[in-house]
């Protein structure tokens, strides 16, 4: 427990709550709602049978721990946590580990990062407050606010971009005077898992969306008004950016758009073609948010369930996760519907959704193929059957945070968290290219290509991790009163979350012999581990 409190930077209070919870083991049944997990397992098993595949074996404990850490809190587990987990013989240790993560700061940090990137991108658009956006999201994830409330706030927010951080989503979509076109496309994709951007100009060739629907949806965003405030810089006398805010204008008319034939058409606010209730004085965004929340089909919940499943398994029920609809049938429609209903019934409980997914049988499976599930290969374009785990490459943020954990003897501590985040943002920019379009879309070179390999081999992060300065994990391990074999084992556990194989040990022995200096041999070993494919893949 002590180790965990260190990484989350929490004090004694945290430890107490954890031990109280550990005592109430009977609570888990209720809390985990095993009926939901059982049903997930049943439906997944059904798909294995239907497709005549056999699942791979379960991953070993520490492989699972590494996976669930990376997926849930965004970094590898600290060495002390790994050691603790190996020793722990409690049959509830898996749920305990997940609960501890869900209660910690790293969970909040991780999901704040993920959603900030989704909502406003890795490069902050002009006159948008990243800090404001993050503040809003931190609170939402820390309090585990129901997802429908979070979405409602994001879509209906008004005010100063630091005082009400939720406004930054729409502000970031309104950097061009594009009459809410981008906000329309992005909102349907992010929150409703539906891609409509093509229907701006014509009826969709593959899905049911019509051009008129795009503009009906668009008309919900016409009340939103971005106001940018400038100020005079006293030093230069120049006008500079002050703050921005989101307010409403008095737009109340219909929206006009041009058909391909050149005919002008008119569109009124409608939600997926259905009329919405107008209420005097209510903004168009509020009308939209009300319609999304009241939607009896629960598309918002379905979209989130699909996205979350995709996050944990590497593949969602549709590919991509944000392009759902009759034109792109789900791989596991019954499971998707079941999870959607359960998520709604839980009052959009994000943490509960994480518990269900990470407790499932499929999530425990090894990422190695066996002879009876070779066809389950979505990387080759096949439909995912979830009969083994799919490996996924770490995201840039996961890599940065994991290298922090691998570098520091104390894991990530909260005292320097803000500083670490600033460093991380700066470091990230080397990988981001923006296309400079109205969509603010970005691409990344953190995609397994050469710049990433060069960064790992020669960059500052790994260099710091292998420096062996006091305070580093490497220094702690190397200077401990332990046998060499134990030190090697600890470095493998720290970097890869596994014990060294015989082949590994033989290579390490050779390295020690040719190195002459034991410290440089350990440095070289740690460099090799951190640069390996096994490190950068979530497996």
């Amino acid at each position: 427990m002590r180790a965990l409190s260190l990484i989350f930077g929490l004090a004694v209070l945290q430890i107490t709550t954890l031990s109280v919870r550990a005592a109430e083991t009977s609570d888990y049944r209720l809390k985990y709602d095993t009926a939901v997990v059982d049903q997930i397992d049943l439906l997944i098993r059904q798909s294995w049978e239907d497709n005549e595949v056999s699942p791979s074996e379960a991953a070993d404990d520490i492989t699972w721990l590494r996976r669930v850490y990376l997926d849930t809190v965004g970094h590898i587990p600290p060495l002390s946590v790994v050691e603790e987990f190996i020793k722990n013989k409690d049959s509830n240790k898996y749920q305990q580990a997940v609960d501890e993560m869900l209660d910690g700061d790293s969970y909040v940090n991780n999901w704040t990062t993920i959603w900030t990137n989704l909502l406003i991108g890795r490069q902050t658009p002009d006159r948008t407050s990243r800090d404001g956006m993050q503040k809003f999201l931190r609170e939402a994830f820390a309090k585990n606010r129901p997802w429908d409330d979070v979405v409602y706030d994001i879509l209906t927010a008004e005010g100063h971009f630091e005082e009400n951080g939720a406004v930054n989503y729409l502000l970031s979509q309104m950097t061009m005077r594009d009459e809410g076109v981008q906000a329309t496309a992005k909102t349907t994709r992010l929150f409703l898992g539906t891609q409509v951007q093509c229907t701006q100009c014509h009826n969709h060739p593959f899905n049911d969306w019509k051009q008129s629907q795009f503009w009906e949806f668009n008309s919900f965003f016409r009340n939103a008004r971005r106001v940018d405030h400038d100020k005079i810089d006293p030093n230069t006398g120049q006008e500079v950016d002050d703050y921005s805010e989101l307010t409403t204008n008095d737009f109340s008319g219909p929206v006009f758009f041009e058909k391909r034939s050149g005919l002008m058409q008119v569109a009124y606010p409608k939600y997926f073609g259905n009329d919405v209730e107008f209420d005097n004085g209510k903004s168009r965004q509020k009308i939209l948010a009300d319609a999304i929340v009241a939607d009896g089909d629960h598309q918002m919940a379905r979209a989130m369930v699909n996205r979350m499943w995709g996050h944990f398994f590497g593949y969602g029920f549709t590919r991509p996760v944000d392009d759902m609809g009759p034109h792109n049938p789900a791989s596991h429609p019954m499971l998707l519907e079941y999870l959607t209903e359960s998520f709604v019934a839980s009052d959009y409980d994000m943490k509960m959704l994480v518990r269900w997914i990470t407790s499932s049988e499929a999530y425990r499976l090894s990422s190695e193929f066996n002879t009876k599930n070779e066809i389950d290969n979505p990387a080759a374009g096949e439909m995912p059957l979830f009969s083994h785990m799919y490996i996924k490459s770490m995201e840039a943020e996961q890599l940065f945070d994991s290298l922090m954990v691998a570098s520091n003897a104390s894991g990530m501590n909260r005292a320097n968290y803000a500083q670490a985040m600033r460093q991380r943002n700066q470091w990230l920019q080397q990988f981001v290219t923006t296309f400079g379009t109205d969509e603010n879309d970005e691409s990344t070179t953190f995609n397994g290509s050469i710049p990433q390999a060069l960064m790992m081999m020669n960059g500052e992060l790994v260099d710091t991790a292998v420096k062996c300065d006091p305070g580093t994990l490497l220094h702690q391990v190397v200077s401990a009163e332990e046998k060499d074999s134990k030190k090697v084992q600890l470095l493998y556990l720290a970097a890869l979350g596994r014990n060294p194989s015989g082949r590994d040990l033989a290579a390490v022995k050779k390295l020690m012999q040719i190195s002459g200096n034991p410290i440089s041999a350990y440095q070289d070993l740690y460099w090799a581990l951190l640069n390996s494919n096994e490190f950068i893949f979530v497996r």
């Binding site: 080759a380 374009g381 296309f435 290509s449 033989a506 390295l511 070289d524 494919n533």
Partner: protein, 423 residues
Amino acid sequence: MSIIQPENMDRRHFMRHVAASSAMTIPAFHFLNHLSANAAEVRKNQKACVLVWLGGGPPTIDMWDLKPGSKNGGEFKPISTAGDLQISEHMPKIAKQMDSLSVVRSMSTREADHTRGRYYMHTAYVPNPTVIHPSFGSVVSHSLAPQRKSLEIPSFVSVGGGAGSAGFLGMTHAPFVVDSNGQIRNVDSGGTDKRRLEQRLAMWDVVESGFINSDRGDLPQAHKDVYRKAVNLMTSPQMDAFKVAQEDPKIQEAYGNNNFGRGMLMARRLIEVGVPFIEVNLGGWDLHNDVFNTLSNQRLPTLDQGIAALTQDLKSRGMLDDVVIVCMGEFGRTPRINQNVGRDHWASSWSLMIGGGGLNGGVAVGQTDKDGVGIESQSYLPGDIWATVSKAMGIPLNIVHTSKRGRPMKIANGGTPIEELVG
């Protein structure tokens, strides 16, 4: 064993070697033995392609296919050129080179969304959820890299990013993204000497291979292949090709003192060491507002200088017949001018520029109607453009790639070289 895989050894064969040389005996690491011997030798007549990518979607009606007298015509006038066609008055330098360059005026490409259009124009395939198609630069890399044994740097270079991905052809054919300043980050191994780096890589190779052999699909091997390329790059004198600042100041000036100019000059330097495909990104064409001022004051002068300088420079070095230049974005823009004096996305009738590489110059291929909204000739798809490029580069059009799922994919999506350009 070396992580530098011998070119003539296939992967399975290579893996047997890896397996055979057990970790018990790590031989001295042959790390830098591939170099220098033939690096300086530049083969003549090596084919290459430079793709000038106008990200955001250029208003080609104001550039290559002007409509004077139409309600859609806008503010610019056409001017005569050294070729048999007129182009915008704001590209006077290109106009002088138009005897070597041509314009296709009847592109019709259906995808008017940035992401989809970018994908379609780069790959010749529309996006499909179950397969990722390679950008054409990756196709060229895949076809020509094996013949260019002395090339130590990546065979697909993207100056400024946005060049898509190698898709099912694998990460070793992915675009190598660089800045136009020529500084490659982290390419220097700092204080780590060669011997130490070799020791590290020997240890690394054991872990790396162990994971590859654990049956988790293709990604672990791709990781190793990319590291192999990265190590090659760290030690190659060909990296000097990125250092545009080493060029004669007069030539630098001719290309323009801006990122695009430097990117175009870098392209020429990369072609000289044997890189077959370079994409140079010039963004900022998503001109929903204020299209005419932005074009005449900013975009077109930069583009004009860069393309004209490259064309002229290649010509004077006797290289133009071997180098195809293509200039396009993800789509064109609406003939109709909107209320913000801008043009919106438009894919059904637009133009691109293509020339060099032995293609016919000074030609306007295809035509649009008087308002630019419809096509009055044969129309062309991206596959036709890439088939034309393939033909110019000597890449056979009967190549069929196989996706990971075993699906056959014709090169350039089965497009046909454009008769007026190759005939």
